[in-house]
Symmetry: C2
Subunit: 341 residues, 2 copies
Amino acid sequence: MLKNRLYLDALEGKEVQRPPVWMMRQAGRFLPEFRALRDQYDFFTRCQTPELAAEITLMPVKRFPIDAAILFSDILVVPQAMGMNFQMKESVGPYLEDPITCLEDIESLVNPPIQDSLGYVLDAIDITLEQLNNEIPLIGFAGSPWTILCYAIEGKGSKTFDKAKSFCFQKPEWAHKLLQKITDYTILYLEKKIEHGVHAVQIFDSWGGLLSPKDYNEFSWKYINQIVDALEQKSKVIVFGKGCWFALETMSQSKACALGVDWTISPQKAREFSGGEITLQGNFDPAKLLSSPVKIYNEAQQMVRDFGTKSYIANLGHGILPNVPVENAEAFIKAIVEFQK
Amino acid sequence: MLKNRLYLDALEGKEVQRPPVWMMRQAGRFLPEFRALRDQYDFFTRCQTPELAAEITLMPVKRFPIDAAILFSDILVVPQAMGMNFQMKESVGPYLEDPITCLEDIESLVNPPIQDSLGYVLDAIDITLEQLNNEIPLIGFAGSPWTILCYAIEGKGSKTFDKAKSFCFQKPEWAHKLLQKITDYTILYLEKKIEHGVHAVQIFDSWGGLLSPKDYNEFSWKYINQIVDALEQKSKVIVFGKGCWFALETMSQSKACALGVDWTISPQKAREFSGGEITLQGNFDPAKLLSSPVKIYNEAQQMVRDFGTKSYIANLGHGILPNVPVENAEAFIKAIVEFQK
């Protein structure tokens, strides 16, 4: 039924003519039409209004010949639904006035039925799928429990999330209780997304790379793996851990069907560490989209040669930057679409 | 003549009873006596007044049984001497009002004799060495040319230094001109430090880990290696590249005598990637110094077991955090000093 199966074929490790391509944060600020909408509605209004979320999701689809759409939303809608009142603050970013500091805060978190608390996401999926009309697959996503914990404890973004880390080191039993609560609710959330028809789900572990390999296993991977195990029979699960090169071997032995990698690892090493079989997704340096279209085109094609066309999804190594010219993003996508073996 | 040769022995790969220990930013804000001095003099006054720099350098030496002192200074004194007017701004950090934007900016940089522009650093070395009285060695340092470029282009700190990176991608020939100028002047600077008696020099590449392995070779390692080659006959050179796990193999084949590693790589992998021979320095997670003294003591001793006592310098994986209790830093140092094979 799906007209363009390139993305799903790559996830299944099938032979393809060329790799599929999409870009993390492709429905983002670099698009003039996104910026126009941004001036009218604040961040969480855009997430919470199904028609707007669907409209934004489709913006890059209308512009570029991409092989997958990803639902416009935010990883913080999950902790919001659990009772943490995250806001998006001008020039601060995500902000939580009362971050979690004690066991009572953790015990007071709620887990209402997804349909009640996050029904707007499910509605956005319904609208988007209808408008996509089976042209390309739709990806759903969630943050990793560790990454959500980082924001829940720190209360805002941070270079190093030392407050969140020291919370885990000082009170590991509290941290595990919080991580388990987030994990359980995230599983319910992604199950509902899958029921509503997303073709794959991606888990974003933005801050796993701030941990030592040992602490990563204890505080991040353990919970990501629970999510993977709970969902693998129901959908395809992709895990993207920024800076988590050291965990590629462990991840590749899980039931995840693909792993995202950032640009600080060479394609060769990424294949080596992940065992050479599992599908990899990445890893163009987002800052390189600020160079010239010709350079972008050539380096993107070199990236495909380095990863190989099989079991590979072309993408950036992290989200697209707001100041990337549209023609530069276009050059990146064109390089993949025109790639010839 | 030096009474405690443990640090030098480790750099030379000699058998030792226990590894030497020091902490990056050990002369820093976590010390109450540092904070008291900080209220009286601003940041660059402290760097530029030899008596103050020496006094601060000795603060941790007086408190802890550490095996090396590192001269209190800043990596930005080098670009300051070249004509970039860096200031330290409250709640912003390093700040350059007119960052480098064009070729003329690069061509207008100066390279006055070190004795004139950075004589205060040399004077601080003289005073410090006299007061150290040959008890322990003194380390001198400089930033890597790439890391200095990051601040010179960006004008201030950044999570991702995308402006600096895109400058390099858009105008590589300008970037190389700037990097070469910084390199040449850094060599002169470190040569003078060595003449004045520092026992080793460490190059801090704080932002090399933001680059892809290929771009790292082009924009960072190429210049670090020039510095290493220029100095290796005159002193011992240690290279610390934060996030630069992917370059350990290349680095280990250079004439550097030791490599610093951060906590996101396991000791086993660090040994494997660096070939197993070269001395390694690191890599306790600085945030872990916010856990309990008992936990710190045990994990620090485990770190020594994992690295092995030979060709190893115990340290943190990055600078000590300002909010670390003094007794926690003490537990870390005690764990190493009391380590028994």
